[in-house]
Symmetry: C2
Subunit: 423 residues, 2 copies
């Protein structure tokens, strides 16, 4: 698995001049690829940390891993049976078994006193050390024991049912490259070579700031005109699924100074900061103003529906993304724009988004020349579009993922095979 | 999503009489479906717990969730623009805009002093409370402001760009059934209705005991004949991925009394216990003996390759699974047998295993009349079988999942479309 092509395929489209809030810059939207490319270019890697093996699953290796010794460290049996000399058994058959003398039993976990001479065999359990002299194991199913004599009913082939001392890994072998994403079986491999701690990329710490004078906490009872802050919880859950650590900075009403202070603090403490809401055509476009006050707005507006009023900026070298306030739009931007950022920061290989191939249950018309993403439900191999305002939670809840309607097409037809990106 | 058919499709094949260790019961293997059915039938549900919203993602709801109030609690604007009376605008056009008097601005988070009379409009930001009298919002793109006069260049349709007060959820609506598995967007929904804590099924607590005289801890340096305990770490990582909590009980050498004591303790403290290794045709088949000493062995042997020497038993009402010692076999049994157990215990809907459809890169011969699972690598839509001893970690590490070769087929052919179960 080669994993160094994080953002390389995003075209280096020329960015518009630094947008100014008074020049209707809203219409200088950039393409999604340009936005991702810019965001990734200002990202910093998170650094590394050492974690106990039992917490390493799913993490990205920060170092290559080599076999410290041969695994297993000795020739061992792969089956329960008798350790034999293959040359003693070539004519063994059901009708005419070969008779061998049982010289004893191989003790598990020890290699003492074990030797097989011609005409002899030793009982050996799975995983036992192959006795000196023996070069094959006959499975117990093909033997019969009569006191100290063992009847062997099948010829043993040289090396049969043996795992050689370095058959799994040879001392010094490269087992994992840096950047490998650990899975449970890899945790087993690391256990085998004695890694109790492993160096991995640190999880990106992502600050979350919610803006909006109408917002109250989840624990509050909204007064007329108020709503609870949905996005902070939703964004945090998505970030955790992507391997990041969300850090909540709370709600900013519409106090620019407060937002600037909070943004500066968050940018000092985190690897990236997401500001939810406050980014639109509104005269009170507080997020862009705050970013400009303490840093730079690089992009304001992505050619994406929904998700157009997304902001990409930086404050003191820390990437800042202004997410649209509508939950469905925020989800989409998290999936399409923030995920690549997290991948770059953690050096996590790209292309990890889970997709489902299924057929359209109905026609979907395309919007004129605009890349559009629609929420869809996938059931029994059928993709049903869920049209609904991006401000609604219910279609988001009903959806299993999103479907891209490319800018160039005239729509999607019922029966057409499509690829749904799972939430 | 209906989720009550956990194990219902597993046929109630007659179980063999209680196996006895001295009767060669190894050959009374049962089908995989029978094994799963039996194991699920002795499982207990885990009970419920209340967790903070920020830890609820991925958990199974233990209670149905209803909307406590209308969401949103008021008619609000979906866009930035002007709140108008639709009947004032039917003839509005680019060439002949309708002129309205701006009566002020809707303040976010408040519903005070807002009223629109015929001939008037009010600026309204996204999410603002629709002023009394108004029945539509014209997007700001279609307006122009000249001092206190607003030029409206498009007719507004009744209800346009408005989210009605109960359009998302109506007070009392059933939002989630018990058994629903929470996703990030669902966390957003719960935030919207003010759920700071949510009742979910408790995660199954699964004890892990490793057996084998040859085993040493991951932190030890193996002496000749010894190997590090791979399975305990591997199993724990897989359990965590399945939503369970692994509890390590350490390594039992080959001391039956020690195993019986540890098994009894683990079965008191856990929802289920996995014993790795010690289950084979060997005369020292310690796991089955220990289970029989303090409980019951229900099944010893499943018609499954690899994974045949699997044990299903119970001790004091707690399910016990004896896993094969070879890591690849243990993984397979975890995926096929233990996963359904965890699902039943947590009332988690079945059918969650992630599969990839791809084409065989080469032929795979079938074993005679036996359901076989092979490890495979999936790359560029091609499935490559990784043949290798189940005792080896390297083919396990190289694999992305497993592929079933059904008992009835003559093998799989290159180019054939198959479904790989991802690890």
């Amino acid at each position: 698995m080669k994993q160094n092509d994080f953002c390389g395929n995003h075209t280096e489209e020329k960015l518009p001049d630094t947008p100014s809030r008074n020049k209707g810059y809203f219409f200088s939207v950039v393409s999604l690829d340009t936005a991702i490319g810019k965001l990734c270019s200002i990202a910093h890697e998170t650094g590394t940390e050492s974690v106990p093996l039992e917490e390493a699953d799913g993490r990205v290796l920060a170092e290559p891993i080599y076999a410290s010794s041969d695994i297993p460290g000795f020739d061992r049996s792969w089956k329960d049976g008798y350790a034999v000399i293959a040359a003693d058994t070539p004519r063994a058959s059901e009708a005419a078994p070969v008779l061998l003398t049982c010289a004893g039993t191989v003790e598990m976990g020890s290699d003492e006193n074990d030797f097989v001479a011609p005409g002899q065999c030793r009982y050996i359990p799975t995983g036992g050390v192959l006795p000196k002299g023996a070069d094959a194991v006959v499975m117990i199913e093909y033997t019969e024991r009569l006191s100290d004599t063992i009847l062997v009913r099948r010829p043993a082939v040289l090396g049969e049912n043996i795992i050689r001392r370095d058959e799994d890994f040879h001392a010094g072998d490269s087992i994992f490259e840096a950047g490998w994403v650990l899975r449970p079986q890899d945790i087993g491999v690391l256990a085998a070579i004695g890694k109790t701690f492993v160096a991995v990329m640190s999880r990106p710490r992502i600050g979350i700031i919610s803006t909006g004078r109408e917002l109250v906490g989840v624990d509050a009872t909204p007064r007329p005109g108020q709503v609870r802050d949905v996005n902070a919880s939703l964004i945090a859950a998505m970030l955790i699924r992507k391997g990041a650590i969300p850090i909540q900075y709370g709600i900013v009403s519409d106090d620019l100074k407060h937002l600037i202070n909070l943004l500066s603090t968050a940018c000092r403490e985190c690897d990236a900061v997401l500001v939810s809401g406050g980014s639109s055509k509104d005269e009170k476009d507080i997020t862009a103003t705050a970013i400009e006050a303490c840093g730079t707005v690089h992009i304001h507006g992505i050619s994406l529906a929904p998700g157009k009023p997304t902001i990409i900026g930086s404050v003191a070298d820390t990437p800042v993304v202004g997410l649209p306030g509508h939950p469905a739009s925020a989800c989409l931007v998290l999936l399409l724009v923030v995920s690549p950022l997290l991948q770059v920061m953690e050096k996590r290989p790209a292309g990890a988004s889970v997709t489902i191939k299924a057929r359209m249950a109905e026609n979907v018309p395309a919007e004129k020349g605009k890349e559009t993403y629609i929420r869809v439900r996938v059931k029994n191999g059928k993709v049903t579009p869920l049209f609904g305002k991006s401000g609604l939670l219910n279609t988001l809840k009903e959806s299993d993922g999103i479907l891209k309607v490319p800018a160039g097409v005239e729509g999607l037809e019922a029966g057409e095979l499509v690829e749904v990106i799972q939430w």
